[in-house]
Structure formats: C-alpha cells, structure tokens
Symmetry: D2
C-alpha cells in the first residue's frame, strides 16, 4: 500500500462484484435502468428529498453542481487551495463561466467571519457573489461539524447566496461526526458526493437539495460530459457502497488509521502535525534529511517542499500494519 | 437482447476480467500507471504516432478533441444530425465556445462537394471555419471508405481546416472497410475513438495525430472533466479490447448481424431500408400498424415517427437467433 | 450617398448636437447621470414598463439580451441567416454558452408553423429549446405585423419558451406598421432595440420586458463588455432620437425611399425583386452584365453572386435624387 | 469638476471637433474607412510594428487582448485588485474561459520576485500559467519604469509566458516616464491602450505586438462584441488624440495636478499619502470626521472606509484652482 492518495486504492470487493452482477444482458442506457433506480432509492434514503445525478469524476461533479447554481456573472467563494480552485485545471470557471474567489484559511475551513471579510458590494462592476463552496472533509484533513456547516449555510442564505459542499470525502466527514450522510452538511443547497475515494471504481453524485436547483440537473450533467451511456455500472457501484452503509466501514478504516498514524509520529523528534487529523489525511513536517527517501519508499507526496511537509493519506484498504511500518520508518533515525 | 442501441449491451467478458485483474493493490492515479502505459502502447500499435488521452464518454471525447483544434471564433462543419450537433446537449459549443455549422446529407456522409457549398468568406463578421467533423461510421449506419475520408481531409487541409473524426463506431467502420484502425480515417488530424459501443464499460480515446494539436491534450482532458483518478480501470478496458484485435470480433459480429437483418427484412411487404447497411445499424420503414408493437417487444427506437422509420441496432453480443426472431416478428402479418 | 448599408450613414444632426450639449463638465460614469435618466424616461414612454440597458453594438445588445434568457444547456431558435447566426462571429454562442438552431424561411420571417417543425423532445441529450429569436424588420427587408409577432409570442409561451426580438431596425418596422415602438413587437419578452442604423453614432438598448429577466440586466451588460464609462454620450444619442419621435422621420425616409426604389426598378427588364419591400432594403436581381459596375458605382453589396442578387439599402439620409440616380443607372441599357 | 474618476470628465475639445469633422456623408463600416486608416497609421507611429484593433470599452479591450493570448486551460497572473480581476464583472474569465490568479502587491506593481512566488508546476490538474498581466499606470496610481516592465517581460518569456499590459492609463505612465507610448511597456506582447480617460468619448485599442498573436485580432474583437459599425467615429477620436501627441498634454495635466494635490495635502495633520503619486491618482487617508463631507462636496470615492482612505483622481480637464480648492477644504479644520 501507499500513502499517496485515497484514489491510489482500487475497488472494494463489493464494488467489483456489483459490476459483474450488473453485467447481464441488455439494459437501457443513460440512467433508464433498474440499477439506477435502486441507487437513487438508496441515495434518497441517505440524503432525503433531493434530485440526484450520477457522475464520473469529482471535477465533473463539482462542475455540474456549480452550474446549477450560477449564472455567468455570479461568483463562488471558496477556501484558497480548494479543489475547485487549484486542482481542476480551471474547469469550473471554464464550464460555468463564473469566477472563483478564494479566501485564505488556517486549516481549510471557512467560517462566517472569514466569509464576511470577502463580501463585496453588488454593483455592476463586480461579480455577484452567489455561491459559498466548502469541502467536507477539507483538503487539509479537517472536517466541519454539522453545526459549523449550518452556520455557514445560514450566513450564505442571509446574504442571498447558496451553499455548495464538495463532498469528495463526505463519508470521512460523516464518520468523524458520527452521523449519517444526510446530516453532515446541514443547510447545503447542493452537494458533490464522492464514492471513488471510498472504494468505487469511479462514481460520484450530484445531490441537489434546494428545489430551485433540481430542474435541469440532467441537462447540466449531460452538457458537462458526465453522462455515461452504460449507467448501470455507475449505479451498481453506488448501490454497493450505500447498501448497509458499507461506505462507513471504508471511511472508518481510513479515518482510524490516519489517527493511528498521527498518534504514532506526532511526538517523534523532528516531526510535527500541521492540522487536526479528523479525516484520512495527516499533514506532517518530517525530518528534512529523510523526507525524500521516505516519500519514495511509501509513495506519498511532499506537499510543501521548503517546509518538509508530507501529505500522508490513508484509504479504505490501508491496514494497521501498513501504518505501523510507516511509523517505524519515520521513527528510525 | 434488444435492438435499441449498441450501448444497451454490457461489458464483453474480457473487459470485466480485465477490471478484476487490474484491481490489485495501489497504483498511482490519473494515468501514471502500468495499465495506461500498456494501453497507450497498444494504441500506438493501432494508430501509429499520436498523442492519446483516455476518456470516459463519447461526448467528453468529442469535446476534448474539438477543444484542441478550435479557438473561440472558429467553427466546426458537420453533417446535420451528427452526434456533436444533436445529441450532446450543446456541450461542444458550450465548452469549446465555438459554433457548429451543419450541412444536410443524404446518408450521413459529407463530401468535398457538400462542404464546398457551405464555405464562407473569412471576414470578421463570420466565424472562421476551422474544423470539418465527420462520423465514421455515421449516425445513419453508413461508413466512409478510406479514400472518401482522405478526400475530405485533403479538402479540409487545402482550405486551412482540420479534420476531426467522431469514431464512436470506428471499429465498425474498420470492419466494413477490412482495414485497421489506423487506416480507416486517413488524413484525420484528430479522432474520437470509442470502445464503449464495442464492449467496454466506458472507455474512449482522443487520438491526436496532428503534432500541432498534441501538446495540451492532458490539460484539455482535465478541463473537460474527463480525467478519472483510477485511470487503470479505463486503461484495462482499452488494453483488453485492443489485445489481439478483439474489437474486430465484436464489431464484425454487430456488422454481420445488421447485414443479416437487413437482408431478412428488406424485401418484406411494407418494409424498406433507408440507407446502405454498412455498419451495425439498420434504418427501416416498418408497417405502420405494427411498428409500435414491434418497438415495444424488441426495444428499438422509432426514429422518424411520421414516416414509420425504425432504428435497429446490433451490438457485440447480439446473436443470430435474436436477429432471426426479429425478422420473423416483422415478417409475421 | 451609397446603398451599401444603413450603417454607412453618419450621425443625424440632432445626435451630433446632443453629443456637444452633453459635453459639459464632469458627470458620474456608468449610467449614474442625468442624460441616462432622461433616456430611460423616454424609453419608458416608448416601451412601457421594462428594464433598460444602453449598449454600444448590435451584437453586444443581442448577447446581453440572450444571456438574460438562457442557461448554458438551452438553445435559441432563429431564422437561417439571422444576424445572431451569421454575422456575429459566433459571439452569442461563445458568450451565452448556448446553441443557436436555425430554421429556413422563405423571406426571413418565422411562423408558428415553421417553429413547430423544429421542435424537439426535451430529453437530456438535447438542448432545451428556450428562446425564439426573430428580427423585426428582418434581414430580408420584410417586417412582421404586430399580429404575426404576437402569434409567435403565443406559440413560444405555450411551449415554455421566451421571445427575443432583434430590433436593430425596429424603427423601420414601426413605420411599416404605422405604430409605436411599444406596439411593434407585442408579446416579446426581450428586445434588442437599435438606433445606430437610425442616425445614432452607436447606441442600442436592451429592453427587458419580462419581469423575470430584468434583475441582472446591468451585470449581464457589464460582463458582455457593453458598459461604457462615459455613458452620458450614449444616453444623449438615445434621448435625441426618441425626442418627438425623431426616429420615425429617419425610418420613414429610409422606408419610403426603398419603396420608391423598388417601384422604380421592379418592372425593368432583367430586374426582379426578391422579397416584399417593407422596410429599408431592396433585394433585387440585376442584369448579370452590369451588376458589378453598378455595385462599384453605388457601393452596394452583391448578396448572392451566382444569382446576381444585390442588396440595396436606404438610410436616414438617403435622398430621392440618390434613388432616382440609381434607378436611372439600373435602367440605362 | 470632481475628483471621482478620470472618466467623469467629458470629451476634449479636439475629440468633439473630430466627431463633427468625421460626420460627412457615407463611409464603409467596420473599419474599412479613411479615418481608421489614419488612426492606424498614427498608432503605428506611436507603437511601431503591431496589429491594432479599435475598441469601445476598457473591459472589452482587455478581453480581446487576453483572448488572443489564451487557450481555455491557461491562466493569467495579475495583481490583486487589478481591473481585470475586480472591476470587470468576471468578463475576462467568462469570455476567454480562462482563470485569473491574483498576487498581493504592496502598491499595485508586480515584480519578478512576486511572480516567482506564484509559479506552479505545469501538471495536468493545474491551469497552465500563460499570461502575466500588469497595469501601467497601476490602480494604485503608481507606474512602472520601462526597465521594470522589461524585467517582467523577460521573466514571463523565460517561463514560456506572455506579457499583457492593461494600459487604460498608459498615457499617464508615459508622461511619468518621460517617454513615448511605444517605450513605456517594453517587451509587452499585447497592450490594452486606453484613450477614454485621456479625453476620448470612448476609444480604446488592442495593440498586438507579438506577431504570433496578431492573426485573429479582428475575429476576437468582433466576437467580444467590440466592433462598432460606424467605426470612423472611434477612429476619429484616436486620430485626434494621437495628433501632435495631444494625449501627452492631457496626461501631463492630470499627473501634474495629482502631484500638486499630494504635495498640498501630504503634510496636513491627519492626512497621509498611501502610495507614491506617479500618475493621476492620490490615495490619501483623510481626517475621519470630515472625509464623508469632503467626499460629497468633491465627489470622490472613499476607497477603504474603515481606514478613511480616499481616492482622489485628476483628469485631463482638472484645473489648478480645482486642486487648490480641494487642498483648502481638506486643510480647513
């Protein structure tokens, strides 16, 4: 195993099995099939009343979600370093036609206070600030409490804005908060719900809760190139991971082992942990003279080379012995 | 089996097997893996020197391909009814920012003569006509000969244009022409090569032949939301279908059975075939009093309701008994 | 004078005078000035209750108008050859992100019947047909009656669509119909109202009648690059031409002289008039052996070279002696 | 007079006169006229070999310039607070489809060192950083020396980037540096050259110096809605202000009076100047108890309300008595 990314892991066994089980004869394409129906029923159980659109990539899911909420002259407020800002090759701006404005945060988490500082007058020379986008759990490995999400939602709604939650790791946030998928982002108008990092091959979902955003969800998905013809195979993945909350086992494993890792290295000489470890990522300063060798051996990313910060990610299939081996290697002088 | 679409079929057995074989431990994401390397080697064998980008949907593949060739003020010339014009929810215009101009054709095939009739002066009020896009095989179930493609490529290049080939069914065209994938679209600058309709779960490839278009292929793919993190599973599909030209068996089955179907119904009373059957689609006028019932029974689309035209598609897994049953049902008064 | 275009004419004297009168000291920019207030009051008098945005170019005005009505996955239905389709370098598609679908017409005029033939199902692969755009008066020099516009508006609204009117020559249509600016496009949700061809230097107006489209009119204008800082000079032009319906004199002159021209040449040997002459354009087949020389002498465009069709346009400043001279030259064997 | 903006001023007398002189009879539209030819000759004299496109608004000019330099997946690096980032309603992102990345500066000026800190790897998840955009003179009223611009150009070119200069106030920068328009932005690949703030009614120019960017300049202008039909009136403004370097008198007046203003208030109690006063803007902290009344009386903007910072702008028509009156009012306790 590696500590490079939770998407370095493969498919969970039940996902591969589900693909095989779905591979029977002909089925209508583009979502008009029994697997999609079942997946949407499970999504409804998890998230409550909403419109759902199964998608293929995290970037695509964010683009579809944002395009439902934005007109061209409107903007998104997001944390500096958010995936939509830094790691999507400009897709959100390019496809939605809207600007992203970023706000520096201490640990990946926005707050009403930080948002307040970025407010601008709604005059014609400015973009109209319309969407607040937060990541749950964040790119820093922290997670919002439901109360913190609700506070941002309330702030957004009070300012005539909408709340988007990038939930590529929503499962990890739900495990951290000990709650269900439907409770981990209260007040959110629209959610990008990811399962790929949770053991799917490639399955993400746009969850449009706000009734005003639901209508064109299928059109927006198709136009963003996220509609796959043999949809049953995407739906089967969603179904497999939502059945009996299997997503929770996967996320719990990743979260638990990240905590174990942080605990195991946090007090080592020359090591310090950057952010609270609340999901499945540990950002740690490692000894300058060995970080490069460790990175090659355990295949993790050096996030901030000048400061010797490593990003160590656990996945659904990471084992405690993987973690203990990494701890031992970091500890060995 | 149904006759609704070649994407109603599932995965070919070797594709499902390949997914399972690729599901071993961790691998780097986004194409930095051994499966992608192998898939690209096979693509190189098939298409010769080119840049390749594995993608997820046909629409996405076309968008990536076109975005490499177009600036905002340039346009695409395509056959009326082409997939990029009619069935992609405006994604090409929306994401490339460029106009699509359509030309009526008798059977889905463009010719230099038809293109000549659509030429416009390159003055500042007009879009600059830059790309000719053809579909090989076409949405009408016809296919271009390599010579016909080369003639269009020559015309395009002589007019300072580029040739894009939408090859969602390139395999069927190669079988029709008895040639390889690299010979079925000679002169093409860029190809959307599809395998989903050939037995993949969801795997398409942008093939950038023209060296001037290759540079930003990965950026364009990422921005069009077509880059999947666990790329090895897309690559494994491509590898499986290119190994020993398995694509040829699948396409040959579909083409052969479409021909068998056309032969079986062409002379029936009240039936007439619309276009030459050169790939895996039969467009047929069926008896007005029974087309609806037949469509429900065999799950095919009524393409042109006023004229009682049905689209009957065969797939990699259609069997001769499926076809014979359909023939019998159409024949039974 | 030339017969090349109504935009070959300069400014009407009252427009130039108004620019000079507005050139006094400092004024706030971007529309927060007394001239804009007065122009908007006159526009309100002419069009009734609506939101107005003064713009700079016809293309820009159409883009602003359409962007208020469209989401990315929606489309516009327009006559083939409409300015938004043919003569705006793809700006509408590029900036709104939406597709334009065209319908062939006999004389530039759409009808409910023609529109009906272009209707498509609203399923996810298709763009959602949202806006019908007509040109009043048309690119062929014909004009709709108010009843004809109302019929299209009714059809559009019955199909959950909106009606946009490209009124670059709305004044000419109003003169033809003997009505006011507010009556010449009944049922229209949004109008591009042009004054440049009527004697302005460069002044156009987005008229958003439908209350649902008004909100972001200023944002859409700014984002489409149509907001000029020294707005008072645009407003002064609008004010000058709306005062005492001076626009009507200009349009009446142009219309009258186009009719005089058509009457003068219509029965000449080798000449035939293409469309009813209802505004300020005469499309005429001219003798093949002299059309080129005539075009050079009178500076008009040969619209359709193979068929020897000339476009002869009159303007606010065309004189009857200009017209008579052209008639005489065409008549002289 | 006001101190609100240099675009609160009207037209310089020679500009109004030029409009009148150009208003003679018919002329071909869209730039095919003698005035445009003359304006372009003068631009060539001023800027040397380049392609020119006359435009209507500053935002439009920036959009045209950037669209020539960018593909969708590429980005622009600009100073935080740059006009393209803050005051163009998202037009650059919306129309070019490209991301703008901002860098905090002490005084509106970027440097190679600041740019270096914003460099990112060119991997597929990131936008490709392609254009550096600087404002000359800046939004803070500072100006780059030619050597400073050249250093940025060299840095950009060494990193496979291009340099864009937003020269809405290029004339003021040329006066500050005591050089010509062609020398004030050395190494720039493309310049947005503004004359509106210099006494035009509304006239800006895209100056494409880099030969690789020149080809589609007219197409890009038309698509960005910046092509006016009666172009002679835009050209006449450019011609008037370039004749005998009249622009220099206007900019010199504005710069000189800004310096006089800064000198007159800089040492007053409770007043401090924010940035070096090098062009025609003075940013000054004013006494908290009187800033509001002064702003109403002299019509200037309070730029930073919490800190009581006023933006005081001089224009081509500001007089020394205007300035002295403002100084006196600020000085009067």
């Amino acid at each position: 195993m590696t500590f490079g990314s939770d998407n370095h892991a493969g498919m969970a066994p039940e996902v591969l099995a589900a693909l095989g089980e779905a591979n029977v004869g002909h089925a209508s394409g583009y979502g008009d099939d029994a697997w999609t129906e079942r997946a949407e029923a499970r999504l409804h159980d998890a998230f409550g009343d909403a419109a759902f659109a199964l998608c293929l990539t995290g970037t695509g899911t964010n683009v579809v979600a944002l395009s439902l909420a934005l007109r061209g002259w409107e903007s998104v407020l997001a944390a500096k370093g958010a995936h939509i800002d830094l790691d999507e090759a400009g897709a959100p701006e390019h496809i939605t036609g809207s600007k992203i404005e970023t706000i520096a945060t201490p640990d990946g988490r926005l707050t009403p206070e930080l948002l307040e500082g970025a407010l601008r007058s709604r005059e014609q020379h400015h973009v109209v600030q319309r969407v607040v986008s937060i990541t749950q759990s964040t790119e820093c490995g922290t997670a919002y409490t439901p109360a913190a999400v609700q506070a941002i939602a309330d702030w957004a709604h009070a300012h005539d804005m909408l709340l988007h939650v990038d939930g590529a790791r929503l499962c990890n946030a739900a495990v951290f908060n000990g709650c269900g998928l439907g409770e981990v982002a209260p007040g959110a108008d629209i959610i990008s719900f990811g399962l790929t990092k949770n053991g799917a091959m490639g399955a993400e979902v746009v969850v449009a809760r706000n009734p005003a955003l639901r209508g064109p969800i299928q059109n927006a998905r198709k136009q963003a190139t996220q509609l796959q013809s043999k949809m049953r195979f995407v739906a089967a993945q969603v179904d497999a991971l939502l059945t009996d909350e299997r997503w929770r086992l996967h996320a719990a494993n990743a979260n638990t082992l990240a905590a174990r890792l942080a605990a195991g290295i946090g007090d080592l000489p020359g090591v310090s942990i950057e952010y609270p470890v609340e999901a499945n990522a540990v950002f740690a300063v490692l000894p300058a003279d060995r970080i490069q060798a460790l990175a090659e051996q355990h295949r993790f990313y050096i996030w901030d080379a000048p400061r010797n910060v490593a990003r160590l990610m656990t996945a659904w299939d990471t084992t405690s012995s993987d973690v203990d081996a990494l701890i031992a290697d970091i500890a060995s002088a």
